[in-house]
Each structure stands twice: as C-alpha cells, then as structure tokens.
C-alpha cells in the first residue's frame, strides 16, 4: 500500500563551517495513523540523513527538549501531529549550535 508523502523543509546550519543557514527538503512518507513532527525527523535521521542534528529524549511530552518551530509556531515535536508539508526551524536561530539544536534546547 502506498502512502502520501510530505515535504519536510529543515533548517540546516553549522556555524563553524557554513557561511549561512540554508533549508533542505526531505520527502517523508506518512504512514497510516497519526505521525508527529518527531516521527518525521526520526525517519529522516534513520533513512535519509543521519547528519541532521536535533534533540529528543522522552518522545512523550515530558522532557520538552524537542521544542522547535514548525510552520512558524513554537511546539514540542513529539506532541505535534503532521498532516501536510512542514517547515521545521530551531526555536532561536541566532543561537544555533547545529541545525535544529540551539543553546537553549
């Protein structure tokens, strides 16, 4: 059975090597049943690009370390369901350590 695929546009930046932040697009298949933003990021890291940096710990809303900006809104990635294309950014782009992980993460 084929599933709809969405576009996940991720903020990428390594302040030590990159002249400026950029966005990278990944195609992520949605499975049947609810998927979270974190499930999408996990899919990217496990299947497409293990180099993507983001933070997660508990997967269930306890640690609050997966805080991110999704389509411009600050949310917890593990708690936020995905329905269509998304743009994922760090909460504070001015203090990024790498990609989606910033000092206050």
């Amino acid at each position: 059975m084929s599933h709809p695929t969405i576009n996940v546009r991720c903020f990428r930046y390594d302040p030590e090597t990159d002249p400026a932040p950029r966005f990278q697009d990944y195609r992520v298949p949605l499975v049947e049943g609810e998927m979270s933003v974190q499930d999408c990021l996990n899919h990217i890291r496990e299947q497409l690009d293990p180099g993507l940096a983001y933070c997660m710990n508990c997967r269930l809303g306890f640690c609050q370390r997966c805080i991110l900006k999704v389509n411009g809104k600050v949310v917890l990635a593990c708690e936020t369901a995905v329905e269509g294309d998304i743009v994922v950014e760090p909460v504070n782009a001015s203090e990024v350590i790498r990609d989606l992980w910033c000092e206050s993460t």
């Binding site: 690009d49 940096a53 269930l60 809303g61 790498r98």
Partner: protein, 607 residues
C-alpha cells in the same frame, strides 16, 4: 606534535554520573557532608532518563508512613514489608539490600517531603495488601531534586556523556567524558565515582523509556572490572502503545489497567476473542503483568496478533459516555493536583477518543532493568571508590521488581551519597595514567576517524533484529544461543568497524554518540543473553519455554558475571539471606506466580 589526551579537565571529590532520581539524591547527600560534587549527565537535569516519566509512586511501610504524617496502616512494619519484597521477588533478592531499601525508603521520602514534593494520594500499589504507596508526579520529583542541587551549588555538566572510568592503584579515580555539544574530551578527576546511569532499554526496539538509557554505566563498570548480577531479569510492560507512531511506547493503556478503569478493559486478539480466558480465567486481564505479557506473546506467535505485532486494548464495549466517564476520573485527579503532564492531558483524551471507535494496538515493551551492576547494601561495587545506585545497579529485587523503583533509586542514591565522605577521608587524587587515557581517547575518536565500515544506524537495526526475534518475554535455549552467537560476534568483530558515515563534525554528532552507545548496549545484551541461557528454569519475570518450572532446589541462585580478560564470565551465587529462609521444591510457573504474588491477589487480605 602528539595529539592531546584530553581537551579539558575538571577536578572534584565525587563524580556522580547521571543526574536524576538516584544521581540527584547521591549528589545532594555527598554535598551535605561538605564534599565538592560534580554531576555529569548525558541529558539535561530533570529532562532526561526514566525518572521524569515515572508515575510516580514512592513506597514505604505503614509504620514509617504514619511517622511522616501519612495515612499508613499500623498493622504494617518494616519487617513485614521486607518479607513481602523477598517473597514476591522469588527469593533471589539480597536480603541485606532489601532491609536497607525499607529503611532508606522512609529517609528518602522524608527528604522529598521536606524539599516540597507534593503528595497526591497514599494508597495501595503494586498489588500490595496494605497502603504503601505515596502517589506523586515524576516530573515534579525530578524538578525538586534539580532545585535542591542548584540551591546547594552543585556543579552539573549537561549533555555530557561519560565514556569510561579511570582507575589507579586499584581505585576509581575519575572518568573520561565526551561533551556532546562541543565534541571535547573531558578528563574528570575524582576521589570517588557514583554511577547513577539507569537502564539499557534502548538496546531493545520496543521499549518504554527515554533515549539516553543505553547501558553506559553497566558497560563502563564491567570494563573497569566490576561485576553484574541478575542480567537476565528484564521487566516488560504489557499494554504499551504500539500504534499509531505518535503514541508508540506510551504505557498509558497499562496505567489505566492499574486504576479503577482496569476492570473495564478487555484485551482481544485479532479474532476478537478475550484471550486471557484461556490463560487465567479467574482474574483475566487483571492477572499479573508477567502472565498477561506471556499470553499476549503466545497469541502473536500463533498468528492471532495485531498488524504491528501486539494485541488489542478494547474499551469499545463501553458506551462513549462510559469512556468519557473514565477520562473524567483521570481529569479530576489531574485538576485536583494541578498536574500538567502532557501524556495525561493531551495523549490520554486522544486515545480514549480513538477507543470509542477502534481498538488500540498494544504490546510488551522493555521497561525496567531488574539486574545490573553488582553492589552490596552500601552500594559498593567491589572496586574501591566506585559506587552504583538506582536502576543501573542489581541485586535488590531478585527475579522481578515488585515495588517502587523510584524509591529504590532515591534510597540507594542517598546511601551512596552518605558512603562517600567516610571513604574519601584519607584518599588522595590519583593522576590517571597516560596509557589508560590514550586507549579511551582512541576508543572515542576511532568511529569518527574511520572512513569506511558499518554505519551505526544499520548496526542498531541489526541489533534490534536480534532482540525482536530472540530476546522476548518468552525465551528458549535455541533462540538464546542464536542471539548469543550473533551478539558476541557483533561485539567482538563488527563493533570495531563502526563509523560515522555522514557529517564528521564533532558537535552534536548523533552517529558518533550512537557508535559509542552501541558498544555498551551490545555488551549489556550479550551479558543478559548469557545469563538467560544459563538459567534453566522460569522465575518471576523470567520465562523459559523449554524450562517452564520454578525450580527452587536447583535455581534459587543468582547469576553473577565478572570480567575475565575483557570477556564476560558467569558463575552462580547463593542469595544473601538474613532472616527469610530460601524455599525448596519445584512448581509450575503459574503455581509459583500464585504463591509469590502479593497477598491481595492470593486472597489473603487481613481484616
């Protein structure tokens, strides 16, 4: 110029590895005695590990509860609590450790109450016959510990993974850590080290715990020469969410089964049958965790499982109003205690909404590690200056955890913190030797330096393939042998080829961290498999299909694993007995469960 052995160094009296339930208590208690304490945590304090996710219930005997102003039962006593713990753990528990658990359960609770931990209720938990459970929230617990640690000015290194321990003159003298954000190698000099690193749940594909629990403490202790005990004893939680992905790993269905909603829950197989009636017709879904887990797994084996390899948690037979009523009860509890836990507030109502129209897929998740680093009642590992407290340690529970782990970790954390001052008095810092530092640095750097080999994600999938296939609730000799061959080959031959396959940056490099964690998870799995193979019986939470009896005549013994030239070597050891004699005889697993289980389930409630 020769490469530096480390990038930064820090000196302290006591290094506590792990910042949560056990680590926080250990640090506070060592600092209370005036020691200079440093905590190193792979995550951020109060935002990592299993502690934040706990229910949480703290146990203490009725009399001690009354002394603390809680509504305890005066028929209870510390001795009675000890007896229950030993019997329900099927007699493998170290009785001196159990006695200390009970003694320090009260001390730990007193600390937490003094520091402001809220009490939601005091009630019966873990099927105990008397109220011994103080109900609170795990999130609040760890935040209170964090506040205390901050108040005392204890230094905390966060997002810092301790990789290996250092020793000199036969003593622990510090550790080497990797600062995950900067990629720097940090040398930590310490006069004593307390490991509080939790379990190795991530070695299993389907688990209920946090991402940082990868058996680092157990593995580094083993490499340093410490022993492990009861590594075959792994606790599974039946009725953990399997699907949809967003709810995966949540133990909410199980929690519901433990509440007043429990008797309304039905577990169904793919044919819609309440399969528990074939396994335990009297108590059905309310049977013990172990029996429910085994039954579910048998259904899956026989082709009556759900699409993602579990069974169904059903409430559909209730009316929608009935389901709303169940949610109302939870919500009332949360409102009353101003508890904001998102799993309860957000996920639970969604799942209950789903349950009105469809059955939820649930399965057996690896939840708690009963075995671990072998310690005595003073949390000493046998290596001078090295202590282990909390879930990373073993020996307390025997073959199944029958009371609160949150109590265990707080109690043992406090014991370890209290043990440090006396030990440290007169112990000087030892400068770690260069060869040791160099070997550790090489181990850390190698996966980053390699340009080809096995990518860690692929390796992880293979390892999970082994656990999914052979290291399940139901175990048997042939499968365990296959698992052992595969795991030991992976550790001896393949792990040396792990490499960072994409970005070679040192900062927040997930692949790099995973390479280091994989070696630890593999070692834990291998030791667990070795011990499982050796135990030719079934006991408590441990079940062998090819040896389904509980055999007290031959197997009322613990498996102990020591490090012989770097390889795990297993021996058997009698449990430590103080006052409760070991049982004799052989019985079926079901008979044993019935005799061991808490009195309530045995129908022996005293009036």
């Amino acid at each position: 110029m020769a490469e530096a052995l480390y990038d930064r160094d820090i000196t302290c009296d006591v290094l506590v590895v792990g910042s949560e339930g056990s680590g926080g208590q250990a640090a506070v208690n060592a600092a209370r005695a005036g020691l200079d304490v440093l905590i190193a945590s792979k995550g951020k304090m109060s935002r990592c590990g299993a502690s934040q996710m706990a229910g949480a219930d703290f146990n203490l005997d009725g009399r001690s509860a009354i002394a603390l102003g809680l509504p305890g039962d005066d028929r209870d006593s510390p001795q009675r609590f000890c007896e229950d713990l030993v019997r329900e753990g099927f007699h493998l528990g170290n009785q001196r450790m159990v006695e200390k658990y009970v003694e320090y359960a009260a001390k730990n609770t007193a600390d937490l109450l003094e520091w402001g931990m809220p009490v939601y209720r005091f009630e019966q938990v873990h099927a105990e016959e008397m109220a011994r459970g103080l109900i609170t929230s795990g999130v609040k617990w760890v935040r209170i510990l964090r506040r205390k640690v901050r108040e005392m000015g204890i230094r905390v290194l966060e997002d810092t993974m301790v990789v290996d321990l250092l020793s000199g003159e036969g003593r622990a003298c510090g550790a080497v850590a990797l600062d995950l954000k900067s990629g720097e190698i940090v040398l930590i000099r310490a006069r004593a080290v307390v490991l509080c690193t939790g379990g190795w749940q991530q070695a299993y594909h389907f688990n209920s715990a946090a991402a940082d629990l990868t058996g680092d403490g157990q593995a580094m202790a083993f490499r340093a020469g410490a022993e492990m005990i009861g590594m075959e004893m792994v606790q599974y939680i039946p009725a953990t969410m399997l699907w949809p992905p967003m709810a995966r790993k949540s133990i909410l269905p199980y929690i519901m089964m433990e509440t007043e909603a429990g008797p309304f829950v039905q577990l169904l197989n793919s044919e819609g049958e309440r399969f528990m009636q074939r396994y335990d017709p009297t108590t059905m879904e309310q049977s013990t965790k172990e029996i429910v887990a085994i039954a579910g797994e048998l259904e899956v084996e026989e082709g009556r499982g759900s699409p993602h390899g579990g069974v169904y948690f059903a409430l559909k037979h209730l009316t929608p109003e009935g389901i709303d009523f169940v949610w109302g009860k939870f919500k009332g509890f949360l409102d009353e205690n101003r508890d904001k836990r998102s799993e309860f507030r957000k996920l639970l109502p969604r799942l209950l909404e789903m349950a009105k129209t469809e059955d939820l897929e649930v399965g057996n998740a690896v939840h708690f590690m009963v075995g671990g680093i072998r310690v005595n009642e003073r949390t000493e590992t046998g290596i001078p200056g090295l202590y282990a407290a909390g879930e990373c340690s073993g020996g307390l529970w025997g073959s199944v955890r029958v009371a609160s782990a949150t109590t265990q970790v707080g109690a043992q954390g406090r014991i370890a913190g209290e043990a440090c001052p006396a030990y440290i008095n007169g112990v000087e810092h030892i400068e770690p030797d260069k060869d040791q530092l160099e070997a550790i640095r090489e181990r850390i750097r190698a996966p980053l330096r390699r340009t080809e080999g096995v990518p860690p994600i692929e390796f992880l999938e293979r390892m999970h393939g082994v656990t999914d296939e052979y290291l399940r609730v139901i175990r048997e000799g042939e499968g365990l042998e296959s698992a052992y061959d595969e795991l030991s080959w992976m550790r001896r031959d393949e792990a040396a080829r792990l490499y960072v396959s994409t970005s070679k940056t040192k900062r927040l490099n997930f692949e790099w961290q995973l390479c280091l964690e994989l070696e630890n998870m593999l070692l834990c799995l291998e030791m667990s498999t070795l011990a499982s193979l050796r135990r030719e019986e079934s006991r408590g939470g441990f079940y062998r299909r090819d040896f389904p009896h509980t055999d007290n005549d031959r197997w009322c013994v613990n498996t102990v694993i020591s490090n012989r030239d770097g390889e795990p070597s297993l021996r058997l050891e009698d449990p430590v007995v103080t006052s409760i004699p070991l049982p004799a005889g052989r019985m079926t697993f079901e008979e044993a469960v019935a005799s061991g289980t808490a009195s309530l389930k045995r129908g022996e409630v005293e009036r």
